[in-house]
Amino acid sequence: MGKKGLIITQQGIDVEKAPDFKKVYDSNWPILEISHEMVVDVVVNIPAGANDVQFRYPVLKHGLGFKPATSYVPSDEYDAFGSGHSFHDAGFHSYDIEVDDQYVYVTSLFFAFELPILLTARGHLRVYDYDPRIEFKANPDPVGGDTRKSRFGVKVLKQGSVSLRDDEFSRFSLNSRAKALTIHQSGLVTVDPATNQATINHGLGYLPSYMLFNTDGRPSVAVRQFGDLNKLTFFGVQAAITGSFPYIVFKDPLLEQAK
């Protein structure tokens, strides 16, 4: 990784000396760009029948050409990136958010004896222009000190926003008063068949935020850390896991690390 690129630090922070957590943007690190954002509102009646139904309903054509990272906030249980359990509608019918190279789907498997079912899938979907299978790892930066403020900085409004004087960050694409979520590491982690677990060695020295996806692109499984702050170990919630899982590990945006 070379010295070329763009670094934007928080207001008042020397670019040459800024540690990770004082940077708003560093082009040496990937960043999650939101490529699509929508409210999912799927109401489908699946009629009675003799056969099981593999339900797969396209809700968005993202057209990115790879299986992107996503986040989904269901309207009932608010659980952000998801956690290895399916989402449920008000009737407790479970469903998943899955992706392929072109589309985002609401999916579920309904057994014949369950039918008919009125499935209602509502939530807030974000698709990120990032392929979590990309092998990437940044060097951890030492952290320390406080963030000073000054009058200087960078603000870039989102399209349609009009005032740089606005203090509400959701109107900005980039604002050096704010911190953008940046990626420390991503790639594919493979399950050890001897332990049915998969381990990511991130080396950060604290418990980082992460996203983990099954091969269909949706969040899956759970995490143990076993007291080691430099690795995350994944395992199946209800069954042994096999194969490989795309993941993203994020840098802590502020000096407040989980240990």
């Binding site: 928080q10 760009e33 939101i34 954002e37 608010y78 807030h124 989102k158 143990r224």
Partner: protein
């Protein structure tokens, strides 16, 4: 025509300010990125009925219900917990934290809900077959509140 800033790496865009990003406000109080102690108190339920309590409310001071990311993990040493909780000792869960009763049935959960005012940490106890009293123990929560709408809002 789009206005803004674009950064490319070998002609691949790596930053386009025409795109949105997940942002955290570092100056809001209470903090939008923090590790906090969670200490649920025991809940009593009769058979099959779910009971819940709000363990913690964190005002977010945003004009919408924001997108959040939360993680729960045990606050104490492994040996200090009742046997029925041993299964999750050392576990760093991703925003959903089930406890098991002695028979192995998941009865408890910690989760978050966000409204226009607060991030609410909720403890729910739902014995499936028989009533009883939950036996929670202290956990920690790491949370991020993003300055991005998160609940059926655009």
């Amino acid at each position: 025509m789009s206005n803004g800033l674009e950064v490319r790496d070998n002609s691949k865009p790596v930053l386009r300010t025409t795109r949105g990003h997940l942002l955290i406000d570092p100056s809001i109080i209470p903090s939008h990125f923090k590790v906090v102690d969670i200490s649920p108190t025991a809940l009593t339920s009769i058979a099959g009925e779910s009971v819940e309590s709000v363990v913690l409310r964190i005002p977010h001071r945003l004009p919408y219900a924001p997108f959040v990311d939360c993680y729960f993990f045990p606050a104490g040493a492994v040996g200090n917990k009742p046997d029925q909780f041993f299964q999750i000792d050392g576990t760093y869960w991703h925003d959903f934290h089930p406890f098991n009763n002695p028979s192995g049935v998941v009865t408890d959960a910690l989760f978050v809900k966000v409204d226009d005012v607060n991030l609410n940490v909720i403890y729910r106890y739902n014995p499936v077959f028989a009533g009883g009293v939950s036996v929670p123990f202290p956990v920690k929560m790491k949370y991020s509140i993003f300055s991005n709408p998160g609940y059926n809002q655009l």
